[in-house]
Symmetry: C2
Subunit: 570 residues, 2 copies
């Protein structure tokens, strides 16, 4: 029996010593083979094949250390290596060596940040780091506070929940299931939330979860770059006030998921203030710009006025997944007052209410959960190790990488930049050189938006082939932008987010070489060889004859397609 | 600059090798000094003092490895050691050596279980383990499914959300903010949820979060043991149907937070079936009884009929926090259909809908979040290592420990058992031997419930003193039970949950010795030396003259105090 052996025969300490002695070289070797970008990021196997290749046999008797080490090697073998600079498909990449040992530490502690006595250090770290991050954002550190959540979606949800409970306090008790009488008595106005059409889906999921309903989440049009249009926001707010609704929450995105674009916080803040609306910043992707003073001022002006801010150190800063903060301008008590239940089996604050008593520091009751992983420790150690400057340099490096790739694309044969990257994501099209001039000549101003679906289909094919056969792993995305009140669907394009400092300029050069080679392999009858003018004239026709195309292409909520001239696209 | 050094100068692999070489002996030594139970579990410092003792200085320039190792040693020094068998205050304890290395592995992978391509192995492990756990619970493995969530509260919330969206599908779009017209058109009946008054607060928090409202969460009375009273449940359901409400969710607790008691699933299932209500089991604490066939049949009869089941391997099985599963009798698609948004920047399932395509295995869209820690890998490795039998033995050992402590309490001087433990938690009172007979003689049947508040206050004092000055760390709790329709508040008592296999019988003997010694130190004027009969007659008086006492002692929702004779208490 393993447990009594651990207990009486072999001690936990001895067992861990053996495991670490055997496993450490495997992990070091694994990273060594991946960090130089020479290997594939993923040995892809389909679900059914992989199920057979892995040892999913659970028996009555446990196995030995040797088999466990084999299992671990298999897990490493068939999982994508985030330490590989070719891992470019997601908004996160690998953690760092200090990230690895900080997670090792949390496992040894097995701490729980619900109450101070269970995690005194992590509790203080959480309080301290929330204030430090708040300071960078523009908050007053004497007032602001924050809390870690299991991911950006959870942080956004806690912000929306807090605001909901402040603007509609009776919902805590009654829910939104108000009787007709109560609706009249409370002068109830249905809640309305605003977020841009380019924002992350978590806002919509959260609103649906919180009983607000997806129809009360207003998808605010963006400008042609994908940033929320403040005028459209104000128009929508006024319209909903007129309808008798209560606009109470605006979500501003700092770094959209698809293109890394930033909504104009300063202009939106003015509107929120005017109409008494909670302003939340979803900085899940781009929040790490707070480490770069110039970028922060440019991309996130007046961020310190926002009521709340979601920040994911597990993305741009390389802290092991998960590490996400929700910061509150007016302190954490605003959340606590909104969601606390004071369960007395766990939280004993009523027993000793002074400010230096342990229970007055219990953070858990300010969340919607109970047990909590002490994720703050991981950010603390990394911040200590790299320094504020190290974090800033890391973020700057990701920006530089995106600028370098976009400069290469501008000179490339088969690719065309969607637009100059705003932060760390590069979006570009597959448009073969042979048809480039035709595309340009056919361009009214949104021509690139009218690029044939055929190219978008080829993009997906190229991605898939590159992922399974080359050393890089990349992804594609489509998006919808708006322009002059019309919605424009952009078919699939390449989307490469930069993150890892392991990426080098020469590796970036290789990305394009790999993609060019993949095109040669995958596009058996190159589009360029076919009658491209015919294809393009079809697109032009579609653009001229919008009305007949709308039903086929539109989705709920879209008002249609529109292609218009705009010089900034080339 | 640290990042370019990592990148160009010192490789990540080299840096990790150095860190692991230096840190591993520290961690092994730390465990060695704690696992034998000779040290204090926590070097307590008050928040303000600890803030000064730790190096919370974040500078522009990063620090070196030496300083980071000092930081780690400090974190270990001032955090409670869960590897210490004296860590008895919480429902979890340490992880195991295999748990530590499995978390180390997740950090190296930095995987994300939102889509198959980002975490193929962890995705399969999650699917596979959900079916294996479902099988133990009594589900059909060909049908059932599951998903990991960041904690038991999150699992419970996802169950309640899924049921809400099934019973009130229009809420996804409209929320509960239904206009008067829509209420009529939909024949809307307000939702009602039932959970026992001894259940975990997460159900109430979740219902409030989901827009259902705390007043629509019906706190069902328990029997005198703290288990939900099925008759009371059915009465409440009928009453709410009569009021025009729609009962749609019953939460059954398998292992209550305070006393480890199990609600009678079989009887409650019959009621749920009769009235078409979703039956959820919150097995956050006691769910690991599924590894013990006899206990499962005794404590969780008919568990396979429940629609959903929350299970926390991070509690009884020692998987590193966090590791929680929500299992679904009818498969995971029931959740996916309820919460999915199909965000196409991430989930490409529409592009390749066959069952062996990677995107058809994407789990993330079946959750309320986006990025997800691949917690399933940790359970998988531990299950492989210890075997099903090893897990069973671990759970049985915790039960045996609770039985052993309760047998010692029955023979002790200063302590009296609340009642025979049902699973792994022991609850007992401080009632000095000198007054024991008086207490017994004064007993009508609920006398022990009438034990003076003075003893409860002493209990808190003893706990605090033991935690700060002895090698054990324990906690107290109060609870409310019901009997014959009346609610009875039980003032603070000792509550020791067993979990870690590092605990031995001789260590359990020491617990009582420590507590006895603590009493000698803390109770300066022993209660026993005072006029105990006077104290007891005051209690008796209170019990006789309930009405005048209710306002002072009662809380919202209580109907008062009642002390009645019941032979099973002694």
């Amino acid at each position: 029996m393993k447990f009594s052996k651990n207990n009486n025969g072999c001690l936990y300490s001895e067992e861990l010593e053996q495991l670490l002695t055997n496993l450490s070289p495997i992990l070091v070797e694994y990273i060594k083979h991946n960090e130089n970008g020479m290997k594939k990021t993923l040995n892809y196997e389909s679900p059914k094949t992989l199920m057979n290749k892995l040892n999913f046999n659970l028996s009555q008797e446990g196995c030995g250390q040797t088999e466990i080490l084999d299992d671990i090697v298999n897990i490493l073998k068939y999982s994508p290596s985030t330490f590989n600079p070719g891992f470019l498909s997601k908004l996160y990449a690998s953690t760092t060596p200090i990230g690895v040992v900080s997670e090792l530490l949390t496992a040894v502690l097995n701490g729980n940040n619900h109450i101070y006595l269970a995690s005194p250090v992590a509790t203080l770290a959480e309080v301290f780091l929330s204030k430090e991050l708040g300071k960078l954002l523009g908050y007053d550190p004497n007032i602001c506070g924050g809390v870690t959540c299991p991911g950006g979606s959870a942080s956004n949800n806690l912000a929306l929940l807090t605001a909901r409970n402040i603007y509609f306090p009776y919902v805590i008790e009654h829910g939104f299931c108000l009787s007709i009488d109560l609706q009249k008595q409370l002068n109830f106005k249905p809640p309305v939330v605003f977020t841009s059409m380019s924002s992350h889906y978590s806002i919509l999921k959260s609103a649906s979860m919180l009983g607000i309903g997806s129809k009360n989440i207003i998808s605010v049009p963006t400008d042609i770059y994908g940033a929320m249009d403040p005028q459209a926001l104000e128009d929508q707010i006024l319209q909903h006030i007129k309808l008798g609704n209560k606009p109470f929450f605006v979500n501003v995105t700092s770094g959209t998921t698809t293109m890394g674009v930033f909504d104009p916080i300063d202009k939106i803040y003015t509107i929120c203030k005017k109409y008494d609306i909670w302003l939340h910043i979803d900085g899940s992707l781009g929040g790490d710009m707070i480490f770069l003073k110039d970028q922060k001022e440019k991309l996130m002006p007046n961020s310190g006025f926002a009521n709340s801010f979601t920040f994911n150190p597990h993305k741009g800063l390389g802290i092991p997944l998960q590490c996400s903060f929700l910061l509150l301008r007016d302190g954490l008590n605003i959340v606590k007052n909104s969601v606390s239940l004071n369960a007395n089996y766990l939280f004993h604050s009523s027993d000793s209410p002074n400010s230096d008593s342990p229970s007055s520091w219990d953070i858990g009751d300010s969340t919607v959960g109970c047990g909590r992983k002490p994720d703050s420790l991981k950010l603390w150690l990394a911040w200590r190790y790299y320094g504020t400057k190290g974090f800033a340099e890391r973020v700057q490096k990701a920006i530089n990488h995106s600028l370098y790739l976009s400069s290469l694309i501008q000179k490339s044969e088969n690719f065309m930049l969607f637009r100059e990257p705003v932060s760390t994501i590069v979006c570009f099209w597959y448009i073969p050189s042979a048809v480039r001039e035709s595309v340009k000549n056919n361009a009214t101003d949104f021509t690139r938006l009218a690029y044939p679906q055929e190219f978008a289909d080829a993009t997906k094919k190229i991605c898939e082939h590159a992922n399974f056969n080359s050393k890089i792993s990349i992804d594609y995305a489509s998006t919808t932008l708006s322009h002059n009140g019309s919605l424009i669907k952009i078919p699939e394009f390449f989307r490469i987010p930069f993150n890892s400092p392991l990426v080098t300029n020469s590796f970036i050069e290789e990305i394009l070489v790999i993609l060019e080679n993949t095109i040669k392999t995958t596009i058996s009858t190159p589009i360029a060889d076919r009658d491209i003018n015919n294809t393009l004239s079809n697109v032009a026709k579609r653009s001229d004859d919008e009305s007949s195309k709308i039903p086929q292409e539109s989705k709920a909520g879209w008002s249609g397609w529109k292609y218009r001239k705009h010089g900034q696209f080339w």
